[in-house]
């Protein structure tokens, strides 16, 4: 059930698996993973016969494997793992194997609704992506930083277009890397390309380096007019299709949009920018001074500064911007719309913003116990382990998926 509206949103606690004791024949299990709707808990397991399998809601898969790794739930609740049988790799999805076999596979990704699964693969020393079991036709010397578009219709990755002899400086600096979209490489080659990202209409933007010293953004293979001494990852404005990327000028960082400066380069750092869905808000993590990080929203800088700021999230309609701060991995705090929530935590996870932006939930940990902060207040119980919370589509309820004493359960709680 990929539509969250159809999930069980009845308030209360529902035990999914009373005990995570090992089933017969299982020697040990890895870390548990839970489906987005919280109805399924799964883990990879080592069997007595020295093979691996998956255990889903307490029941082992029928298939077992020489190796299994990269366990992931798709948004529609299917459990996947990259598995090896007879020295060949494939993807297992809910105990069913893709027919395609490769020399290696990694990097499982899903479309927003979960209907499309993409992975990277290597076969015979050539590299490509495989989408719903269909491999790219063109393969490459190397491939990394793969991306699947949210609608699942396109894939992109940085690819190496020519082979390189050892220590061949000229060849490398002439440009052997590019971006391939659905297996078709851009015409242009660069020294480097990084972080290809999708916008509307399957436009792809990426960071590129055109010489050892010149960085810019390439969109569908075409460069921005300006070169910079450095850039970071571009992102698309979902409403306008414009592209924003942090750029470095004169030793300081600012923000450019479609090649034009929109935030003056005054920052010691500026990265992880994100737009709201309506395109009204552009927020980024910035450092106005050396060693002092905070968040800038549409160029306006929040007042509280911390040694580290991470996990910036922008609400869909732009009503809410949230991020985490820490003192070098200690004393984590949650910041929402320029205000710092009370309390510090040993660890905090990416904030989750409700669809209308009026609520924020954050998984936190202190003294080895985990809980969820809802609008700054801890949920009234803590847990051995808790997973990322999910808001109901109407934003009135929160799904908490948690474990205590070996039991896995889901709790739906109304949000005031």
């Amino acid at each position: 059930m990929h539509s969250p509206a159809l999930w069980d949103w009845e308030p209360g606690k529902r035990v999914i698996l009373a005990s995570t004791d090992l089933p017969e024949g299982v020697v040990w299990t890895e870390e548990p993973h839970v489906s987005p709707d919280g109805q399924t808990i799964a883990t990879l397991a080592r069997l007595e016969d020295e093979t691996f399998t998956a255990i889903v809601n307490g029941t082992p898969w029928e298939n077992s494997f020489e190796k299994a790794w990269l366990p992931r739930f798709s948004p529609d609740g299917r459990f996947t793992a990259v598995v090896q049988q007879d020295d060949e790799w494939t993807l297992a999805v809910d105990d069913t194997l893709w027919e395609e076999r490769f020399d290696y596979m990694w990097g499982t990704q899903f479309s927003q609704d979960g209907s499309v699964i993409a992975t990277c693969f290597q076969a015979g020393g050539k590299y490509g992506m495989c989408v719903n079991a269909a491999p790219w036709e063109n393969l490459f010397e190397n491939l990394n930083q793969s991306q699947l578009s949210a609608d699942g219709t396109s894939t992109a990755a940085v690819v190496q277009l020519l082979s390189l002899k050892p220590a061949d400086l000229d060849a490398f600096q002439a440009g052997v890397f590019g971006v391939a979209v659905n297996g078709q490489a851009w015409d242009s080659k660069f020294l480097n390309a990084w972080t290809p990202t999708f916008g509307a209409g399957h436009n792809v933007a990426a960071q590129v380096r055109t010489s050892l010293y010149d960085y810019s953004i390439a969109v569908n293979g075409k460069l921005w007019p300006e070169l910079y001494s450095c850039v970071w990852e571009p992102c698309f404005n979902p409403a306008t299709g414009k592209i924003a990327a942090p750029v470095r000028i004169g030793g300081k960082w600012g923000m450019a949009q479609d090649g034009q400066i929109i935030w003056e380069p005054v920052f010691y750092q500026c990265w992880q920018q994100a737009f709201s869905q309506n395109g009204q808000i552009l927020a980024a993590i910035v450092a106005p001074d050396f060693g002092e990080f905070t968040v800038a929203v549409n160029g306006k800088v929040w007042s509280d500064r911390f040694p580290v700021v991470t996990d910036l999230m922008v609400g869909a309609d732009g009503a809410c911007v949230a991020a985490l701060s820490s003192e070098n991995n200690r004393n984590w705090r949650v910041m929402v719309d320029g205000r710092v929530w009370e309390g510090t935590w040993d660890m905090a996870w990416k904030p989750v913003i409700s669809p209308r932006g009026n609520h924020v939930a954050v998984k936190v940990e202190r003294g080895g116990r985990q809980t969820i902060l809802i609008n700054g207040r801890p949920f009234d119980k803590d847990f051995d382990r808790v997973f990322d919370p999910v808001f109901s589509p109407d934003g009135t309820k929160l799904l908490i998926k948690a474990m205590n004493m070996g039991a896995y359960f889901r709790v739906v709680t109304p949000v005031a």
Binding site: E30, Q122, Q269, M347
Partner: protein
């Protein structure tokens, strides 16, 4: 006397110099000096009293006692002094020598710091020279290729994404023969320890990953390794002068650990990588400290020993001598913990070299020098004569050296000067001597 009397042919340097014009040099030199340096360099160059006290600090100078062009101040005289005096108006041939000197005759070990009353940091000055050389495109071939690899793969040995994960799984499988329940946990969110290595480990020295995994397993540590790039903490871009790329590498490394919500980063026995994430690359990214605490293996193993998590089945036969890697000793003060750990591990004495602790002599491989490759091997080995003499004087057969580059350098030194010594990582000794569960 000087670098121009001992030029060595290198593809990268020659290629770079062949594309230079005096105009380009002048423009580039002055742009770096004006835009990227400030009071620090200005004061250093103005107040160095040319007292010559630093002359005997440097192992290159010690190994060439009659040649002042190897002294720290002598190196500055041949490089920065000339650029400043001539306002950057120098010939391409001058740049060749300047680059060769800065990349292959200074290990950035900072031993000269202990000799300068004014507190001049010659390592920093040489770093500025390297930055200028990078900007001019005049860098030795092999280290530049490594920098290219960093930019394309985020590791220094062109290790591809599949090769990394595959290698870890292969090592895990191998190790299960010895430890049936062994795991190398990939991408384990919330682990206490994020273990990071340098690319030569998956490429050539997989036994080091095996040993680390065995030690983690035996000590019952909650640890993980990332499945995706970010796992390589090394940084030759820091040494070529490509600071933009250095910042990119460090960002990737720290973000990879942040994403996994780990408590600390523990890194393998490497020196320069520690420097790059501890107080160099992180600063370029704007972090005053490291956003996630970074712990070198020396300290990590020391903790395991202190907490009784490693138990020894036997002790390693001594006596041994201890080589202090500059980047974690002068760079992090770990020499005492290193010795406490070595005393715990060995049966016998530590016979100290004449220069040890913070006053250690560099292995002559550091600072990217060994990464400049075969053309410069002889220079490097000749520069380690004084190290060889100190090693020989200990009379022992074993050197404990907790750093990859130091190993590479010391191996060449031991071989060239017929020292007949074996060189051990801490991990080698711990793995060999520890009690092995399930074994």
């Amino acid at each position: 006397m000087g670098i121009h009397d001992r030029l060595i042919e290198d593809v990268g340097l020659r290629r770079g110099v062949s594309r230079l014009t005096p105009e380009k040099i002048e423009k580039t030199v002055n742009a770096v000096l004006k835009n990227e340096t400030g009071a620090r360099l200005k004061v250093y160059s103005e107040t160095c009293m040319r007292c010559g006290m630093c002359a005997t600090a440097c192992h290159y100078a010690q190994s060439h006692p009659d040649d002042p062009s190897y002294t720290p101040a002598g190196k500055v005289r041949q490089t920065l002094d000339v650029l400043l005096d001539k306002g950057g108006k120098v010939e391409p041939d001058f740049i060749y020598g300047m680059a060769q000197l800065a990349y292959t005759e200074c290990n950035l070990c900072r031993r000269c710091v202990h000799y300068c009353p004014i507190g001049i940091d010659t390592g920093y000055i040489m770093t500025v020279i390297r930055r200028i050389c990078h900007k001019l495109g005049v860098t030795p071939q092999y280290i530049q290729d490594t920098a290219h690899s960093h930019s394309a793969t985020f590791n220094q040995m062109w290790v591809k994404d599949d090769e990394w994960a595959d290698t870890l799984q292969w090592q895990e499988e191998e190790a299960r023969e010895e430890f049936p329940n062994m795991r190398i946990p990939l991408d384990k969110e919330g682990a206490d320890i994020y273990y990071s290595v340098i690319a030569p480990e998956p490429k050539f020295r997989t036994q080091l990953i095996y040993q680390a995994a065995a030690i983690m397993h035996a000590a019952g540590v909650d640890w993980t390794m990332p499945a995706e790039p970010g796992w390589d903490n090394s940084d030759m871009c820091m040494f070529t002068g490509d600071f933009e790329m250095m910042g990119r590498l460090k960002r990737r490394h720290f973000e990879s650990a942040q994403k996994l919500k780990v408590k600390r980063i523990v890194m393998g026995e490497c020196g320069h990588a520690f420097r790059s994430i501890y107080d160099v690359g992180n600063r370029w990214d704007g972090w005053m400290w490291h956003p996630i605490p970074v712990v070198h293996s020396i300290e990590f193993f020391w903790e395991l020993m202190r907490d009784g998590k490693i138990k020894l089945a036997k002790k390693y036969p001594g006596p041994v001598t201890v080589h202090d890697p500059c980047n974690v000793v002068r760079g992090r003060g770990l020499h005492e913990k290193l010795r406490e750990l070595v005393r715990f591990l060995i049966d016998g004495d530590i016979v100290e070299m004449a220069s040890h602790g913070e006053h250690n002599i560099c292995c002559t491989a550091g600072g990217g020098v060994i990464n400049c490759g075969p053309p410069f091997k002889n220079v490097r080995v000749a520069g380690s004569k004084s190290k060889a003499e100190e090693l020989k004087a200990t009379g022992v057969k074993t050197i404990v050296a907790p750093c990859h580059n130091c190993h590479g350098g010391l191996e060449d030194t031991v071989h060239a000067y017929h020292l007949g010594m074996e060189i051990k990582f801490l991990g080698d000794i711990i793995y060999e001597c520890m009690e092995k569960p399930e074994a």
